[in-house]
């Protein structure tokens, strides 16, 4: 039982970069991202799928990286919170800016998980209601904000984006 476990070769993409690594099968994807790839933007909270801090995108879908083994991602495309601002000097993603503006974080521990949950949600639901936003983030725990400012940030960004799109098409933005 305690003899060293043989590793497996896997090849996958994270934020557009292809990696090839050897992993022990029991290595959790969350630990793999942080310890093996040094992508510490993905946070680790409960490690049993309840808190949502480790949420990342697997082939475009939000999943818990603590409930997947790294060995399972062979051939997959991952996006982590680092992928939202590919260049360190570039401005933050507009959703990140909205979190900043609306005080959608205090300690920031849960924020990467919220952002990764919300990106695909807002792709599918560009104009969500408050109720839909609250359901979308129901699997992410935040102990600082009481969620109100996170909801404000999401609705705020959705409105701004719609207004910008309307302006781009030469129409008056909706008030």
């Amino acid at each position: 039982m305690n003899e060293p476990n043989p590793t497996r070769e896997i090849e996958f993409e994270v934020n557009g970069t292809t990696f090839r690594r050897a992993v022990e099968p029991r290595r959790l994807l969350s630990d793999f991202l942080r310890h093996d790839l040094g992508l510490t933007g993905t946070h680790v909270g409960c490690e049993h799928g309840v808190c949502g801090a480790c949420t990342i995108l697997l082939d475009g879908q939000a999943i818990r990286s603590c409930l997947l083994f790294a060995v399972q991602i062979d051939g997959a495309h991952l996006t982590t919170v680092e992928g939202m601002t590919p260049e360190p000097a570039a401005p933050m993603h507009p959703l990140q800016q909205a979190f900043q503006r609306h005080h959608g974080l205090q300690c920031g521990f849960c924020t990467p998980g919220f952002l990764m949950t919300l990106l695909p949600f807002l792709e599918e639901n560009p104009d969500p209601t408050e109720d839909e936003v609250r359901h979308a983030i129901s699997g992410n725990l935040c102990r600082c904000t009481g969620y109100q400012h996170i909801v404000d940030a999401v609705l705020g960004w959705a409105r701004e984006r719609a207004a910008a799109a309307a302006e781009g098409e030469g129409r008056e933005p909706t008030p």
Partner: protein, 289 residues
């Protein structure tokens, strides 16, 4: 966090998977979505020596209607797909009603139908739905296939009719009859938590009288419980008085246990309240065309 070491196989065919599982015997475990298995492995409550991952096997995630009108669902269909699939909504509306209650969006993106059923958590939604819908499960081993009724499949706490070396590969849900009305409700302490009590109901009226009533409760024992009291309602008009009587009878016939989440009395109370609400809601829904 580190689960105990295990051997990992990710076969490309069901035949290989069955061989590997057979070879592993009691030490082998099937990995589907992993949304229940991986947490218990993280806590080392489960320490399987061999994991056989089904995620690379093609053909296990079909959603089809067979010539007889039954819904045929592959075991690896993920919850998020069940939730949005128009065929599922048409043929098995109770299933569509239940899926949004399962955990959270991120879990539904990964968790699978077959995984939930094989895990057989008594507080989970899908086992109760399958009992209410008279679903049948196809279990495959190296020796061939066998079909097991949902009601016979769930034998106890996290226990099923699956033998070592067997994999649940397909779920057959008989088509809803025209006019079937459904409701699914549960009460949980927090959104997405396992239910303290939940109910899955399907009923049908003819000439304003109940000709079919299947009412299944979950999280009140070691497996889904179909209300015996439903038999007394058949042939009767679903008046508020009858619904009230039935709800109280349901509260009396179950034998829930006390635990840290709720007392047995509270569970009986919830069972009666949810039963009343579910029947009222189903009757209001008007039924499929």
């Amino acid at each position: 966090m580190k689960p105990a070491p295990f051997d990992y196989f990710a076969p490309n065919s069901l035949e290989e998977a069955l061989e590997q599982l057979q070879a592993a015997g009691w030490d082998g475990k099937v990995l589907a979505g992993g949304q229940s298995l991986v947490p218990v492995m993280n806590f080392r409550l489960a320490q399987p020596g061999v994991l056989v991952d089904l995620n690379r096997i093609p053909g296990l995630d079909g959603i089809e209607v067979d010539p007889a009108g039954n819904l045929r669902l592959g075991a690896m269909v993920r919850h998020a797909r069940l939730e949005k699939d128009p065929t599922v909504a048409r043929v098995a509306p109770l299933l569509t009603a239940a899926v949004p209650w399962i955990a959270h969006p991120q879990i539904r993106n990964r968790g699978t139908l077959g995984g939930s059923l094989a895990h057989a958590d008594p507080a989970a939604e899908l086992p109760a739905v399958m009992v209410a819908l008279r679903a049948r499960f196809r279990l495959r081993s190296a020796h061939g296939d066998r079909w097991v009724d949902a009601d016979d499949f769930f034998v106890g706490l996290f226990a099923t009719a699956l033998e070592p070396g067997e994999i649940l590969v397909e779920v057959l849900v008989p088509a809803a009859s025209p006019g079937d009305r459904v409701a699914f409700l549960e009460v949980a302490r927090r959104s997405g938590d396992y239910a303290l009590v939940g109910v899955a109901t399907t009923l049908r009226l003819e000439a304003e009288r109940l000709v079919d009533l299947r009412h299944v409760l979950f999280s009140i024992g070691d497996r889904p419980h179909e209300a015996h009291a439903a038999a007394d309602c058949i042939g009767q008009q679903p008046t508020p008085e009858l619904i009230e009587q039935f709800s109280l009878a349901v509260g009396r016939e179950i034998e829930p246990a006390d635990d840290i989440h709720a007392s047995a009395d509270y569970r009986r109370h919830l069972a009666a309240v949810l039963t009343r609400r579910a029947l009222t809601q189903a009757l209001r829904s008007g039924g499929a065309a």
